[in-house]
């Protein structure tokens, strides 16, 4: 059952994907990489809708700095797969104008770290256009690219922008942790009439998993419960979800069983699933790849306290990256990031009485 959305800012009613359809199984043998899942999502949507184009640095002739758009130039041609110069503010703003006019741009940032030079466009114009125009124009652009540290890229190239950008009302923020979700969420992002920031991780682009051949869209605001347990709730976003699964593995060996929630989207935030889990476990550890101060984890903890204070048997704990600029050295970077050891330690702490 598809829904049709009408809004003064939409020139034509938008047909939203059928989210009532059950999602296909995660099990299977169509094993592809994360980057291929992203490519499939974009290509499938582009085949259906000529308003969609992909623009970014090296997306066309070079086949993508990270090979996400490999082959797309051959299929869609240079008018829809467009190499841009290194002008993030310029092409982000171009996308805003194009989206207002009626196109559906996908903008690839080689890294979200470089989105900072486009901050004016993506924070001042993208999220606010609908509001400041009194509902006349939305800004349906998908901005996507690598987010987060982990490749020894040092301080300037390791940004986790979600902590900053989630503060701004008017955008949806998506952060997948695996190829299956990446595809289903990116397709939803492209179909959505609102602006979406889609956060990938260079560290995960080679991750492989089964991605079903049939078409599917994953709704925003619905966390995936990846492990079930009664002892503690672990909540995470994006790449660190994988560290949480490792931590859970280790804890199970000690007889500690956790709910592991992969939030998949930051805005909307599936707080209902978090609260339901916390009411069961009485304990929560939030794992977030941003710096701790005013972070996504801070927001989750706040909302948990606001809604489930009486159910808590231990104060909420968070595992963020360490509160320093991102270091280069492998050993320093490894300790800087949230990791399974830190996550498991935090879970044990919530259980120690």
């Amino acid at each position: 059952m598809t829904t049709t959305l009408e809004h003064p800012a939409l020139p034509e009613p938008a047909i939203l994907p059928d989210f009532t359809k059950p999602l296909p199984s995660r099990e299977g043998d169509r094993i592809i990489q994360f980057r291929e899942a992203l490519r499939e999502a974009m290509s499938e949507e582009m085949r259906k809708d000529s308003r969609i184009f992909l623009m970014g640095e090296e997306v066309a002739q070079y086949n993508g700095a990270y090979k996400i758009s490999q082959g797309m130039l051959d299929e869609f041609g240079p008018l829809r797969i467009i190499d841009s110069p290194i002008s993030e503010n310029g092409f982000a703003g171009l996308a805003v104008g194009a989206a207002m006019y009626g196109l559906r741009p996908i903008i690839e940032f080689m890294s979200w770290s470089f989105s900072l030079v486009a901050a004016d466009q993506i924070l001042n114009n993208v999220p606010k256009m609908l509001y400041m125009s009194g509902g006349q124009w939305g800004c349906p652009v998908v901005f996507r690219g690598n987010d987060g540290a982990g490749g020894q890229l040092g301080s300037t190239h390791s940004w986790c922008v979600e902590g900053l950008y989630a503060n701004v009302p008017g955008v949806k923020i998506v952060i997948p942790s695996n190829p299956y979700d990446a595809k289903g969420l990116l397709k939803t992002a492209i179909a959505d009439p609102d602006p979406v920031f889609f956060l990938e991780s260079e560290r995960m682009l080679g991750d492989k998993a089964h991605v079903p051949p049939e078409e599917y869209y994953i709704p925003f605001g619905q966390a995936a419960l990846l492990r079930e347990g009664k002892d503690c709730t672990i909540v995470s976003f994006g790449r660190p979800v994988n560290f949480c699964l490792e931590a859970d593995e280790a804890l199970r060996a000690e007889g500690i069983e956790c709910d592991v929630l992969d939030m998949r989207t930051i805005r909307p935030l599936d707080i209902d699933s978090i609260i339901a889990s916390v009411k069961k476990t009485g304990r929560i550890v939030v794992v977030d790849q941003c710096w701790p101060f005013a972070s996504v984890a801070s927001e989750v903890v706040t909302q948990v306290i606001e809604r489930a204070f009486d159910w808590l048997d231990h104060q909420p704990l968070r595992v963020n990256t360490e509160d320093v600029p991102t270091p280069y050295s492998k050993v320093l970077e490894a300790e800087y990031l949230p990791n399974p050891r830190k996550i498991a330690a935090a879970v044990r702490k919530t259980l120690a009485s």
């Binding site: 009408e6 809004h7 002008s87 104008g97 009626g102 609908l130 009194g134």
Partner: protein
């Protein structure tokens, strides 16, 4: 204090001798409409100033007085459905594009009947039916948007083969070649956004015209104190492979004679252009500007070249109709002045009498087109409250 003069700050020294004036073929009535539009802007801004002093308008308010010929002359060179985008000194563009003065004034009064339901204010005038893609408050930020409008307008015929369903587009319509205008102040010449935008436009061959409303100052900074090559800004366009022109903004007919062929050229060739459009603002930068950076003599010199006076005298003098008489009679001029005053008075009354936005309905609407649960920790957003303009 360096003095600006009407001599140096003008387009005329650069203008080629014309063999042909496109304005010659314009009906007299068209020119009278232009005069009316310019008078309307002038009167509207006067009443804005009053309303601001009475604290009916809040925030920042930048008046267009002195620059009327620019908005009117450039917009009259376009088709109705060519997109435009401008900065925060935007009332003139809104009115010249055909926005109802009531909706414009009501916006500044923060009323629900404003063009953006009172959510934008003086600096953020948006008018979808009239293809005005905003008033934008951040200096230079609108220039990539204008580039994107041109990109989309080109994409629509080149890739989609059909027009996007924008206002006025009927099913079955063929896409057409368009031109977008991105207006900017001279201060925006120093913003990176413009230079990235111009490079993109040159590179992708986009039909956008960057119209620099060069009034000589960004707030209190005279152009040569902030901008290199101020004596010939066309060099900046040169660097991006963009056609550059200097155009005089003190005579709307001259302006049209220079600007209209440029628009036609951009449309035909689907190429960008850049215009150093010489103009002058009579009033302060915003409503709180003691204007210590220029002399009264300088301002008076430019007022002596006033574009409205000039057009009126042309229409009542040398510009003759078929009957050999001036196109505009004294009596008709007075009539138009009265009519314009009346239109603005009505706009004031409309703004005054309109209700403020319903807080319950409006505060949380227009944040998302597709609001979903849990987008905000504090409240749910509201879906689709209608804008009175649409």
């Amino acid at each position: 204090m360096a003095q600006m003069t009407t001599e140096t700050h003008s387009g005329s020294p650069h203008r080629k001798a014309r063999t042909h004036r496109v304005s010659d073929s314009l009906p007299g009535e068209t020119l009278i409409t232009w005069l009316r539009d310019m008078l309307l802007i002038r009167e509207f801004e006067n009443r804005c100033a009053q309303a601001y002093q009475q604290a009916k308008i809040g925030g920042f308010c930048h008046l267009y007085t002195g620059q009327e010929a620019v908005a009117v002359g450039t917009i009259q060179s376009l088709e109705r459905d060519d997109p435009i985008v401008t900065a925060y000194r935007d009332h003139g563009h809104a009115l010249a594009r055909g926005m109802d003065p009531g909706a414009c004034m009501a916006e500044m009064f923060g009323k629900i009947t404003g063009c953006a339901k009172g959510k934008g204010g003086s600096m953020h005038m948006f008018d979808k039916p009239n293809w005005l893609f905003g008033g934008h408050g951040i200096v230079g930020a609108q220039t990539p948007l204008g580039t994107g409008l041109a990109f989309a307008a080109r994409y629509e015929w080149e890739v989609m083969g059909k027009p996007c369903p924008n206002p006025g587009v009927k099913p079955g319509d063929k896409p057409k070649k368009k031109v977008s205008l991105a207006y900017l102040g001279d201060g925006a010449l120093n913003q990176g956004a413009l230079h990235e935008a111009m490079n993109l436009a040159g590179l992708y061959s986009l039909p956008v015209i960057y119209v620099v409303e060069n009034n000589g100052y960004s707030m209190g900074t005279a152009i040569e104190r902030g901008t290199t090559m101020a004596h010939d800004l066309r060099k900046k366009a040169d660097a991006y492979g963009i056609r550059g022109e200097i155009i005089d903004g003190f005579d709307v007919i001259d302006l049209y004679d220079d600007f209209k062929p440029l628009v036609d050229w951009c449309r035909e060739n689907q190429r960008p252009a850049f215009v150093d459009l010489k103009t002058y603002r009579y009033l302060g930068h915003s409503m709180s500007d003691p204007q210590k950076y220029r002399t009264k003599e300088e301002v008076d010199q430019f007022k002596g070249k006033d574009s409205i006076d000039r057009l009126a005298s042309q229409l009542m003098g040398e510009r003759k109709g078929k009957d050999g008489k001036p196109i505009l009679s004294e009596a008709r001029f007075t009539e138009i002045q009265t009519e314009v005053k009346e239109a603005v008075r009505k706009a004031m009354d409309f703004a005054e009498e309109s209700p403020t936005p319903d807080v319950e309905a409006e505060l949380y609407s227009d944040v998302f087109i597709n609001p979903q649960p849990n987008l905000s920790p504090t409240r749910d957003y509201i879906h689709g409250v209608k804008n009175p303009l649409l």
